[in-house]
């Protein structure tokens, strides 16, 4: 076998480079669709995360007024009742506590008392005006018991607190 000439070596090298370039171009073209889909998928994932982040920011806004409170524990319902339901001693029973975001807890309390509709309104207004507020979750009212103008009230109230 004869020794290749410089021109042959040069041409061989050029052919090798051209073949490598061609092979890479073919590979690139062959995988182009997949590669672009992969990029599209990632771009879509990022858009989804951005949307979730925006939603999250919206939800987080509800937390802000509570975090801004100086006192993060609601007033006692017994105390509230003493102020808004003069002469009435409600029955107060602690119910379940649910954990909430950022170390807060949603504490539920069941309150029973007999009062007029107006007194009930005063109590609820005072409870809602408290900071953190007491929120009415459930209620059961029976009119005329034990007297015609009296309502037997059972309320389930919830307040957020942070210890």
């Amino acid at each position: 076998m004869s020794t290749p000439t410089t021109a042959q070596v040069r041409l061989g090298l050029a052919l090798a480079v051209a073949a490598a370039g061609g092979a890479l171009a073919l590979y690139t073209l062959g995988s182009l669709t997949d590669d672009l889909h992969k990029l599209d998928r990632k771009t879509a994932d990022l858009a989804t995360l951005r949307r979730l982040a925006a939603d999250q920011r919206g939800s987080q806004q509800a937390l802000a007024p509570f975090e801004a409170l100086t006192i993060k524990q609601p007033p006692s319902l017994t105390e509230l009742a003493a102020k808004s339901l003069p002469g009435i001693a409600p029955s107060v029973r602690q119910r379940e506590s649910l954990s909430a975001a950022n170390g807060w807890q949603a504490r539920r309390v069941e309150v029973k008392f007999d009062a007029s509709a107006a007194a009930l309104g005063n109590f609820l207004t005072a409870a809602e005006a408290a900071r953190p507020p007491w929120r009415l979750v459930e209620f059961d009212l029976v009119a005329g018991v034990p007297a015609p103008d009296v309502v037997r009230v059972t309320l389930l109230l919830e307040a957020l607190e942070k210890k």
């Binding site: 490598a20 370039g21 807060w104």
Partner: protein, 443 residues
């Protein structure tokens, strides 16, 4: 004899006859400067031409066996010759055939030495019979049923190119006689008879198919004006025609010049290690250009391919980094498996949403709003409420009214609060009050 052909189409006879030293020097200088290429002929008397038939139907394989088949035909060893194959074409049996031209190396070297003595170095040295045939074909098309004999009457030689119009103007054979114008000039009858006898002998050896065709004789060469006695001796019947080619004296030179200009290298026998340095350099430059072009194209493809892959990787990495960062920020987790970012974030946010729900609920107290709205609606509708219960999404209102229809507006009010209402009423009792129950479910 020297003819200059230019790409513009111009043909100039530089000289017709012996050249002086100044003219030769001028030509040499022009060739040496690379502005012109010198093409010369190798006389048919010093060369050999045969159609070689291969038994092979594949062109590349046929090309490989041609030298061995030529070796069998040559009267001297192939190793002592230079040869060239042209007109590779399928034969009748779908095999391949080619026209082989060959000459002994010593004859070629001697011919080059003759030129060298004049200060000339032709780059192309072509079998003269082949260029004569081709130029005659170009200048006078050949009728399909005619046998053509192109006769070049040189000073001391005759070259014959025989072909037939039947095969589309295909060359049949090339012959050289060491008998030319020098011998025929004195109108010497024995020389004419000898010439005619040799030529007739060659024509009789032609393939059987060519025998019945009309014969056309075309004269050229410096001795073309001596064709008269030859025509008289050759004339046999009305199917024989004689004609002199245009400017017969310069015909061969013109044929060589035009073939060289057209890049037609068929029958070019200055090849192998005798290849002219200019042609060798031209070929090498061609290889270099091809190599650089290939290298450039390959390099460009590689650069594009690699560039694309790098960009793609970077784009992927950039996106993945941002996805991971956002997923970590939203989920509060530092380790998230690749590909599970969205699912991890959604799971974390679902839990987070449940933890945030009490805050949203606290800012929109639905039960208190409903209670106030129901009490107000009862007053407006003149309905007395007896019991009111709200738990989760369900609502039960019991009451009484003095009119069967008074509870309808109340039901309508409850519907506006978002409840699906079921109303049941009892006929008025002794107290003339209609008792009703409204059961609602928040939609």
């Amino acid at each position: 004899m020297l003819v200059r052909a230019e790409r513009s189409g111009a043909l100039t006879t530089l000289w017709n006859g012996p050249a002086d030293a100044a003219q030769l020097k001028a030509v040499s200088a022009e060739v040496a400067a690379g502005r012109a290429l010198l093409a010369a002929a190798l006389p048919a008397t010093d060369a050999f031409a045969r159609w070689i038939e291969t038994p092979l139907v594949a062109a590349d394989k046929a090309l490989k066996v041609l030298p061995a088949l030529l070796d069998v035909q040559l009267p001297f060893p192939l190793e002592t010759c230079l040869y060239a194959f042209s007109q590779l074409q399928p034969g009748a049996a779908k095999n391949f055939r080619a026209l082989a031209c060959a000459a002994r190396r010593t004859d070629i070297e001697a011919r080059l030495a003759q030129f060298g003595a004049l200060g000339l170095d032709p780059a192309l040295l072509t079998h003269e019979g082949l260029v004569l045939w081709r130029q005659a074909q170009a200048e006078i098309p050949l009728a399909p049923t005619t046998l053509r004999v192109v006769v070049y009457l040189g000073d001391g030689r005759t070259t014959l190119a025989v072909g037939s119009g039947a095969g589309g103007g295909e060359l049949i054979s090339l012959h050289g006689l060491r008998l030319g114008a020098d011998e025929l000039a004195p109108a010497d009858a024995p020389a004419v008879r000898q010439w005619v006898g040799r030529v007739n002998q060659l024509l009789r050896a032609l393939p059987a198919g060519a025998a019945g065709e009309a014969v056309q004789w075309l004269w050229c060469g410096p001795g073309a004006e001596l064709a008269g006695p030859l025509e008289a001796a050759l004339a046999q019947g009305d199917r024989v025609r004689f004609k002199a080619l245009a400017e017969p004296a310069t015909f061969l030179a013109r044929a060589l010049a035009l073939a060289a200009l057209a890049g037609d290298t068929a029958g070019q026998l200055r090849n192998g290690d005798l290849t002219h340095p200019a042609l060798r350099a031209h070929t090498a430059a061609g290889y270099r250009r091809s190599a650089f072009s290939l290298l450039g194209a390959g390099g460009a493809l590689l650069a594009l391919g690699i560039g694309w892959q790098v960009w793609l990787q970077q784009a992927n990495d950039r996106l993945q980094t941002e996805i991971l960062a956002r997923a970590q920020e939203l989920s509060g987790k530092t380790h998230i498996q690749y590909g599970t970012e969205i699912a991890t974030v959604q799971t974390a946010l679902k839990q987070r949403a449940a933890e945030l729900q009490p805050f949203a609920d606290a800012l929109a107290p639905v039960a208190a709003r409903d209670l106030a709205a129901i009490l107000a609606a009862a007053r407006t509708c003149h309905v007395t409420l007896e019991a009111l219960s709200h738990s989760g999404k369900s609502l039960i209102v019991r009451g009484a009214t003095d009119d069967w229809n008074h509870c309808d507006p109340l039901a309508a009010q409850l519907r506006t609060l978002g409840y699906a209402i079921e109303l049941s009423r009892e006929e008025a009792g002794a107290d003339e009050l209609v008792r009703f129950t409204l059961k609602g479910t928040r939609r």
